[in-house]
């Protein structure tokens, strides 16, 4: 790709956001309203906080909590997900518990956890990890359960050792589902990151917003809010890049499959369930609550 094409591509994607920002800048330019300061003033505030204030320190604090929570949740979610996905008995036994934990709004845990473990960074990382854990776990379980049974046949016929089967066959085959879970987890994790700091903290970007609000520094509130937005956006963009890289094979297979005549692709979907369709994947991601049929059945029994 040459520079011209890249610029053209970027232009096609960025003209609308640029227009929105420009409109905001111009329309708020002469604003006297206390609650809606001019964008230029907010922008100046961000620069000031970044150069002379504690902006970077706050971002670092928040991001370390987020990273620790997300990574630990990712590892735990994948490990438990593969075990629970593979072993039906254990899955049935823990499903009522899983169902309860998942249905409960995890934000409600913030007071308990912070009251019990203090306002330092560890309880915050824990809360972020806790909220990220569930979608990763549930999507991993779902991914393992949706594996093509042929995979296990191949592993058995060629006497692949079980740990190798899990690491080199099950894990990559489940990765599309795991990534879907992680994408949901990122959104939830960022919310928890901000909420846990707003509840009580001495540092962090959420704390900065709340503190500014309490002392009526509205421009700072806006600055913090915009920084949070940018942060969330950058995390998502970074994750999508990682996902594209790790799942390059998957997107290639999908594209080739969909390029064929629709009827044939549909027939193949019916014949080979593990080849996932991004549309249904997306739908599934949104319907996390309904996906694990066993869990749902178990709940009904419980009721």
């Amino acid at each position: 790709m040459n520079i011209q094409k890249i610029l053209l591509g970027a232009g096609k994607m960025l003209w609308l956001p640029a227009l929105v920002i420009a409109a905001w800048w111009v329309l708020s330019g002469t604003s006297e309203n206390f609650y809606f300061p001019p964008l230029s003033k907010i922008f100046e505030k961000i620069i000031f906080q970044a150069t002379e204030g504690a902006l970077w320190e706050n971002i670092l604090f928040s991001m370390i909590n987020f990273t620790i929570g997300f990574v630990v949740a990712g590892i735990a979610g994948i490990l438990f997900g593969i075990v629970l996905g593979s072993l039906r008995r254990i899955r049935v036994a823990v499903s009522p518990l899983l169902d309860f934990m998942r249905s409960m709004p995890q934000i409600a845990l913030v007071p308990v956890v912070i009251m019990a473990f203090g306002i330092g960074p560890e309880p915050k990382a824990f809360l972020i990890g806790f909220i990220c854990f569930w979608p990763i776990l549930l999507n991993t379980i779902d991914g393992v359960r949706g594996l093509n049974p042929q995979l296990l046949e191949v592993a058995k016929a060629y006497r692949i050792p079980y740990p190798v089967y899990l690491m080199r066959m099950v894990l990559p085959a489940t990765l599309p589902a795991i990534m879907t879970g992680m994408r949901i987890a990122i959104g939830l994790g960022v919310v928890m990151m901000v909420v846990s700091e707003m509840y009580s903290s001495t540092r962090g970007i959420g704390f900065y917003i709340l503190q500014s609000q309490e002392s009526y520094r509205i421009t700072d509130v806006w600055a913090g809010t915009i920084v949070i937005g940018l942060l969330g956006y950058l995390i998502s963009v970074g994750f999508v890049a990682v996902e594209r890289y790790l799942l390059a094979w998957y997107y290639q297979v999908e594209r080739r499959r969909l390029r064929k005549r629709p009827a044939r692709a549909a027939a193949e979907t019916a014949a080979a369930p593990p080849v996932r369709n991004p549309a249904s994947e997306h739908a599934k991601a949104r319907l996390t609550a309904d996906k694990d049929s066993e869990v749902v059945v178990a709940t009904r029994k419980g009721v």
Partner: protein, 262 residues
Amino acid sequence: MSNHTSDTLYVEGLSKTYGEGSTAHEVLSDVSLEVHPQELVSLVGPSGAGKTTLLRCLSGLLEPTSGRVRLGDRPVSKPIEDIAVVFQDYRGSLMPWMRVAENVTFPLQGKGVAKAERDHRAQEALEAVGLGDAGNKYPWQLSGGMQQRVAIARGLAYEAPILLMDEPFGSVDAQTRFDLEDLTLRLRRELGITIVLVTHDIDEAVYMADRVVVLGGRPTRVLETIDVGLGDDRDQIGTKENHLFAELRSHVLNQVRHNPAI
């Protein structure tokens, strides 16, 4: 690649029943057959006759309800390293996240083969199936027929003397199918592999085999075992015009027709 065996594969009084009690469904009943070293035996029968069930028992993937499978005097109650399987669905059996060469060498890790030897064997096996330059590609970059050749190469690199093929050419177009049939016959001639081929295609069963085992009835049993006296050199046009081929084909077709499985 050394793919020789001197052991005969025996199936003795094998039965398989799925389910229990009133819902029990007997699929295979008292199936006995032998596959001699370097022989190509076709198992042919109508759809639903339990051909795949029989093949899974042969490979040790499925435990029979009664009877047994043995190779020489070793029981085959679980998969053994002397038997490689080529599955019908190459999409499900090759791993799209691994390059072709890795797909071929992957099972060798479990066998404890060193890296250099693995790579050497993969290259050799891929060359044998005419894909010597495809090692660095991904399976999905290849056509269906080529993917099935990769699956065959994986079996070859595994150096199992016995190759079990479950409708291996069922998902490719007719021309590719003929090419794969001839490729399989050539590999067998060159490497001396023993092959058990499961198919519902009667032409293919007769064209490929030294012996055809006709399966049918309800539950499925061996209806007949036919020696195919067509010699070692088969040709898609010549052999199929041969009157002996036509006779065998009609004979097998009659057997299958008069003993439907369902």
